[in-house]
């Protein structure tokens, strides 16, 4: 049986107590120290009722405290539910209530959550290091919130089995992390890739480097790499695609050996031009444990980078609408089966059943496969290539957004009769969500303010365009193709032209 990440971490604490587990610009923690801190916090959580089968919330920005929180929650046997302290309290409250989560760890006092346990509570020093609660492979390891098309977020529950399979493949098959690596933690706490990025080094004796919170996080990356001696880091495909050609040589010069990427389609040149630095592209929805397919870039890699092939224990099927396999080279929807499937959407059995179908290709009864909603084809060489979505889910800065959830929130604003939201790559300032609205116009400030009470920041449209009515196509649906072409940002330009005349 594959050991869980808790087993692997505890083995490192026993075998390499003096190795550095965590590093910031200010200090570092050995495995023995980090093991002790997380064991005491885990013991406190267990005294409060946490354990296998339970869920503990984590309200903390990226930082050493959040890392302590993640590991402590896992070691208590419970599943970690990370929440963004900057997200609307209303939304975070709803998620905690909806998952029946009663215990929460926080980096700082939270106004809307007076009962939260502070991660650096000084009284934890007196806590006994109770024997570890060994979670079962089928117990949940973490729960990640994703956008829901019907207007409510969904919480995906992922068992230890999937996470430990990915970590084992990352260390033993994919060479994503080595005991002498320093992995720079670059992503948000609430993204499932964070679980992979921070836990795999801790499972093999490597070091997690936590950057300082920065004013300009993207530009600060190089500085953090140099200051912390990072050898591996994850850069979202949304950044690496356009800027990899310029960034990778600088990272290689600073000593980085591997850049992990993912989150959206990787599209860009020069990804194998910073030898010996290697780029590895991971693909996968949260529902399949971070990334069940991996691709390693080389000189022959095309600009539109393949998503690779399944890791150990994972099966990938390309099926038509009747769930029949399509031949290699033909387009179909990608289904994922085997190790790594999430348990489903917590508290939403209907939505779970709609996405996790019985696996018709498995001899074992009860096995399921996840319908990714991604259109792909399998190349003759066995690599899979992403072609697009089968629905209107989009990715913005690597965040997965169901357009339906944004439109639902817009329709809840007074005065909005109808709403359509599009991702416009041609927006001023770069790709942006644009809301096309019909009804009684509200000011931009008012509408953004109302949405910010409901939605995470990356889901709030940056532009609002009021129309007399939304254009319809022949079947009477909103004509998204027309909206995709509609000029929308010229209001400011008009104002400007007027200024120029006067």
């Amino acid at each position: 049986m594959t050991p869980t990440v808790c087993d692997l971490f505890e083995r490192q604490v026993r075998e390499r107590p003096d190795a550095t587990a965590v590093r910031t610009s200010g200090r570092s923690w050995t495995y023995a120290e980090f093991g002790g801190t997380t064991a005491r916090l885990a013991a406190r959580l267990r005294r409060g009722g946490a354990g296998p089968g339970g869920i503990v919330g984590l309200v903390a920005p990226r930082g050493p405290q959040a890392l302590t929180g993640i590991v402590a929650i896992l070691r208590s046997g419970a599943a970690c539910l990370p929440l963004d302290p900057d997200d609307p309290p209303l939304r975070n409250r709803e998620i905690l209530d909806g998952t029946g989560c009663r215990q929460v760890l926080a980096a700082a006092p939270v106004e809307w959550l007076p009962g939260a346990q502070l991660i650096d509570d000084p009284t934890l020093e007196d806590e006994e290091e109770a024997p570890p609660a060994a979670p079962d492979p089928l117990d949940l390891a973490y729960a990640i919130t994703t956008s829901g098309s019907t207007g409510r977020p969904k919480v995906v529950g992922v068992p230890h089995e999937g996470l430990s399979n990915l970590v084992a493949a990352s260390i033993e098959d994919l060479d994503l992390v080595r005991p002498d690596d320093v992995m720079l933690w670059t992503l948000a706490v609430t993204v499932d890739s964070t679980m992979h990025d921070v836990l795999m080094p801790l499972c093999c004796g490597g070091c997690v480097a936590v950057p300082d919170p920065g004013e300009l996080p993207a530009a600060g990356m190089l500085r953090a790499v140099r200051a912390l001696g990072a050898t591996v880091l994850e850069i979202p495909a949304a950044v690496l695609g356009p800027y990899g050609g310029s960034l990778l040589p600088r990272l290689a010069e600073a000593g980085v050996r591997l850049v992990i990427t993912g989150g959206s389609q990787l599209d860009g040149p020069g990804l194998a031009d910073a030898d010996p630095l290697v780029v590895c592209n991971g693909y996968g929805p949260t529902e399949t444990s971070v990334a069940p397919l991996w691709y390693r870039c080389d000189k022959s890699t095309p600009r539109w980078v393949p998503i690779g092939r399944p890791i150990r224990g994972v099966r990938a099927y390309v099926l038509d609408e009747e769930l029949n396999p399509v031949p290699d080279g033909a387009a179909g929807q990608l289904y994922i089966a085997g190790a790594g499937l999430a348990r489903g959407y917590l508290g939403l059995p209907g939505r779970t059943a709609a996405a996790f179908l019985p696996d018709p290709f498995s001899d074992t009864p009860g096995r399921r496969m996840y319908a990714t909603g991604d259109r792909v084809r399998r190349q003759p060489d066995g690599e899979y290539v992403f072609l697009g979505r089968t629905d209107d889910q989009i990715k913005i800065s690597g965040f997965r957004v169901e357009i339906g959830e944004v439109e639902h929130a817009l329709r809840g604003c007074p005065g909005v009769a109808d709403a359509a939201v599009l991702l416009r790559r041609d927006a001023p300032g770069g790709a942006a969500l644009v809301a096309f609205l019909a009804g009684t116009p509200l000011s931009d400030e008012e509408i953004s303010g109302r949405l910010r009470d409901r939605l995470p920041r990356h889901m709030v449209p940056r532009f609002h365009v009021w129309l007399d009515r939304l254009p319809l196509n022949r079947p009477g649906k909103i004509d998204r193709a027309a909206l995709a072409e509609m000029p929308f940002a010229d209001a400011r330009a008009d104002r400007r032209r007027t200024d120029d005349v006067t």
Binding site: S246, L247, D426, A427, P428, G429, G430, A432, R462, R492
Partner: protein, 94 residues
């Protein structure tokens, strides 16, 4: 050394315009327009930083990697000129 005849401010203006996709929307950029108010995100700002560094073959010093440096075409131009003169007169560097 090959010195471009085009003033730095014009090159910066062109880089910003391309990075932020502004002229496509009929917008003419002034040297003091606040780019953060024109839709610039931390992602597009990083693209801007990398393109500026590549174009002028400079490395902006750490203290220049702030929001304020990238606020306007004027502030970016000033940062480029500072980095260039530091490069040309290393003995003056403090």
């Amino acid at each position: 050394m090959i010195v471009s005849q085009e003033p730095v401010v014009e090159i910066v203006r062109r880089i910003v315009d391309k990075q932020l996709n502004l002229s496509a929307h009929g917008y003419e950029l002034d040297a003091d327009d606040d780019l953060w108010n024109m839709g610039m995100t931390s992602l597009t700002c990083m693209g801007l930083m990398l393109t500026v560094e590549d174009t002028f073959q400079i490395e902006l010093p750490e203290e220049a990697l702030r929001e304020g440096t990238f606020r306007t075409v004027g502030t970016i131009t000033a940062a480029v000129e500072a980095a260039r003169s530091a490069h040309e007169k290393p003995e003056r560097r403090v």
